[in-house]
């Protein structure tokens, strides 16, 4: 792991304030001249993000464009992991770039320059807009969020009012349970965390064009000889981004939460029987991207830094270093046992016992160092940016992607990966004080998603979304 942090960030910050974002080296300057001719804040941003010391920069592109693929020069596990982690951060930054009303990234501004911002990915279509009741055709790309009947009272409010409250479009959060119904996660104010899944235009088009949004469409699709679901892959050669899906976890903000540390938005919380409008903060974020070099997809996962403490095998318990966490209460004697599901019934309309969650696999030191580098980069745009409070947990990628028939999962690295807000209860187990991983039951993005199918039991190319077709 190269340590450029001190040199690079100091240099960038110093130059930024002294000369207005001139790049620190010739290579970076040359790159910028070819990337964009934008001027003003965006130009400054481009220069900042063209810092070649953190990268590999995978291709010449603007910071609001996700990398097309990973094609770094690494030859061993550690250096390639670093390339994938850089890819994850660059993708995170691109997807969280400020969005225009049409959902396109706003190239005239910079991520977090106003502390928080609306984001590109939140303008994408949400799963319930694609997989609709009775197998109806999805809503057109760019449609506003669909408001269910039970929330009509709220949706009848003037949209302008909602826009004034939130910096991003209204959001609808219905889901509260986790993969395989392993259980919900409850925050320290006894509220259920909520989830949503969204896909990019590329992935949406594939679903739409192949009519995979309905059960009937899926049956017809597989009538063709040798038909297989095969989403488009991101490619450096064609300079195109492939299918991307994101899953986000949100918590309801309360007066004790420091909202300056979260990306927040106003959301309609749907509990089937009633709806409410709440300010919610982003606490977990998965990104899955299919690329040429990773037909098993690349899986990046981020969390808000205040979520949970890490487990320490020496202490045989959590290493507590904060007074308040989102999903853990320090020095609590009457709390639930560590990483235990909350008591049933699981009714998100009612409060439940707060979760007592601990991260079982610590963030790798190299990834932690990279997080620090990107945090420094982000704070050089705005010292109060909310994006500095998000950390990459890791990136899972296939080490042997070549022959999916013989080795379908491509032997992923790291072998296991869990986000504490999204795979809370399948992080692994503790045996004699040590964390133990169990294949098939401990969280692995690629291995789990490799089992995903369509509604008629066919391989669905690593997405469970197609099971939602009606």
């Amino acid at each position: 792991m190269k340590n450029f942090k001190g040199l690079t960030v100091t240099c960038l910050i110093a130059v930024f304030y002294t000369f207005g974002f001139y790049a620190c080296n010739e290579e970076g300057q040359q790159k910028q001249e070819t990337v964009s001719e934008t001027s003003g804040p965006a130009s400054n941003c481009i220069k900042l993000f063209s810092d070649t010391s953190i990268a590999p920069r995978f291709t010449k592109r603007n910071p609001w464009e996700p990398p097309y693929d990973v094609s770094g020069p690494g030859s061993d596990l550690e250096s390639i992991q670093h390339d994938f982690d850089v890819y994850s951060w660059e993708t995170f930054i691109a997807l969280n770039w400020p969005a225009l009303n049409n959902g396109a990234p706003d190239s005239t501004t910079c991520i977090g320059s106003n502390r928080d911002n609306n984001t590109v990915w939140e303008t994408w279509l949400e799963s319930n807009q694609i997989f609709r009741s009775g197998g109806q055709q999805p809503v057109p790309w760019g449609s506003p969020k669909t408001i269910p009947n039970e929330c009509n009272n709220l949706s009848s409010r003037p949209s302008k009012m909602l826009t004034q409250i939130a910096k991003v479009p209204d959001d609808l959060l219905q889901e509260f349970s986790q993969p395989f119904n392993t259980g919900p996660i409850i925050d320290q104010d006894s509220n259920y965390a909520r989830f949503e899944i969204l896909v990019n235009h590329n992935m949406f088009d594939y679903i739409l064009n192949n009519k995979l949004y309905s059960k009937t469409g899926q049956q017809d699709f597989f009538k063709k000889q040798d038909a297989v679901v095969d989403f488009h892959s991101g490619s450096v050669d064609s300079q195109k981004v492939g299918a991307i899906m994101v899953k986000a976890a949100w918590k309801i903000m309360n007066p004790e939460d420091d909202t300056s540390r979260y990306h927040t938005t106003t959301a309609i919380i749907d509990n089937d029987s009633d709806c409410s409008e709440e300010l919610v903060g982003l606490v977990g974020f998965h990104i899955g991207h299919k690329t040429v070099s990773a037909p098993q997809w690349i899986w990046s996962t981020f969390e808000q830094v205040d979520n949970v403490p890490e487990y320490d095998e020496k202490l045989k318990g959590p290493k507590v270093d904060k007074s308040r966490y989102n999903f853990f209460k320090p020095n609590c004697k009457n709390c639930l046992p560590m990483n235990q599901t909350p008591p049933r019934p699981w009714n998100p309309a009612e409060k439940n016992t707060p979760s007592q969650i601990v991260r079982l696999t610590p963030v790798d030191p190299a990834t932690r160092q990279l997080n620090e580098q990107y945090h420094n980069l982000l704070t050089s745009i705005n010292a109060n940016t909310v994006w500095q409070y998000y950390e990459l947990i890791s990136t899972q990628w296939p080490t042997d992607p070549g022959d999916p028939d013989v080795n379908p999962d491509g032997t992923p690295a790291p072998q296991f990966l869990a986000n504490t807000t999204l795979e809370t209860y399948i992080q692994g187990i503790i045996k004699d004080g040590k964390v133990v991983m169990v294949p098939n039951s401990s969280s692995s993005c690629i291995r789990c998603h490799g089992n995903a199918t369509t509604t008629n039991g066919k391989f669905s190319d690593f997405t469970y979304l197609l099971e939602r077709a009606q």
């Binding site: 061993d76 390639i80 080490t399 032997t411 992923p412 291995r447 039991g457």
Partner: protein, 175 residues
């Protein structure tokens, strides 16, 4: 050559799999290292290194294995255990023989081992990655990396062989 490198050669010779299959250049599972450490732990570094040195210095390594895998040979239980470890992901327990047994047999090694009975699974990954599953084109109970619906199709290697045969036959017809 260090002892781990010799262990790589020994593993290839004992299993019939290639070095890149047993010790991939990008190896997140790290089974080879795990097995190397297991043997060191179970029989002790002295005895393990002595066996590795004997293998490494043998002019004909295949002949060395042929002879030393025979029942009654001092290295046989450990060598057999290494084969079983790679194929099953299991360590079969060994006991140390009393000193008089050692002298009766041979003076080639510090310690004579013999099977005690019983075993332990080295790790969950070791079990699911056992070479026997690849050799059989199958998978362990309760765990499969194949895509859903594989059970209705021929095993991947058989499919590949069929395709190969078919293209060879086609090429011959064209001749």
């Amino acid at each position: 050559m260090n002892s781990f490198d010799i262990f790589k050669q020994l593993s290839v010779a004992l299993t019939g799999f290639t070095e890149s299959q047993l010790f991939p250049p990008l190896d997140p599972k790290g089974l080879g290292k795990q097995y190397f450490n297991t043997i060191n732990e179970k029989i002790g570094a002295d005895d393990f290194n002595m066996m590795l040195s004997a293998f490494n210095s043998a002019p004909d390594k295949n002949l060395f294995l042929e002879q030393n895998l025979q029942k009654g040979q001092p290295y046989a239980p450990v060598l057999q255990n290494i084969i079983k470890m790679w194929y099953f992901g299991i360590w079969f327990y060994l006991d140390k023989a009393p000193d008089n047994v050692k002298t009766d047999l041979t003076a080639k090694t510090n310690t004579i081992f013999f099977p005690r009975g019983g075993y332990e699974v080295i790790s969950s990954e070791a079990y699911t990655s056992g070479l026997m599953w690849q050799a059989m084109d199958a998978h362990p109970m309760g765990y499969s990396e194949f895509k859903t619906g594989y059970w209705a199709e021929l095993p991947p290697q058989v499919q590949k062989q069929q395709k190969k045969n078919s293209s060879t036959a086609k090429a011959k017809t064209n001749e």
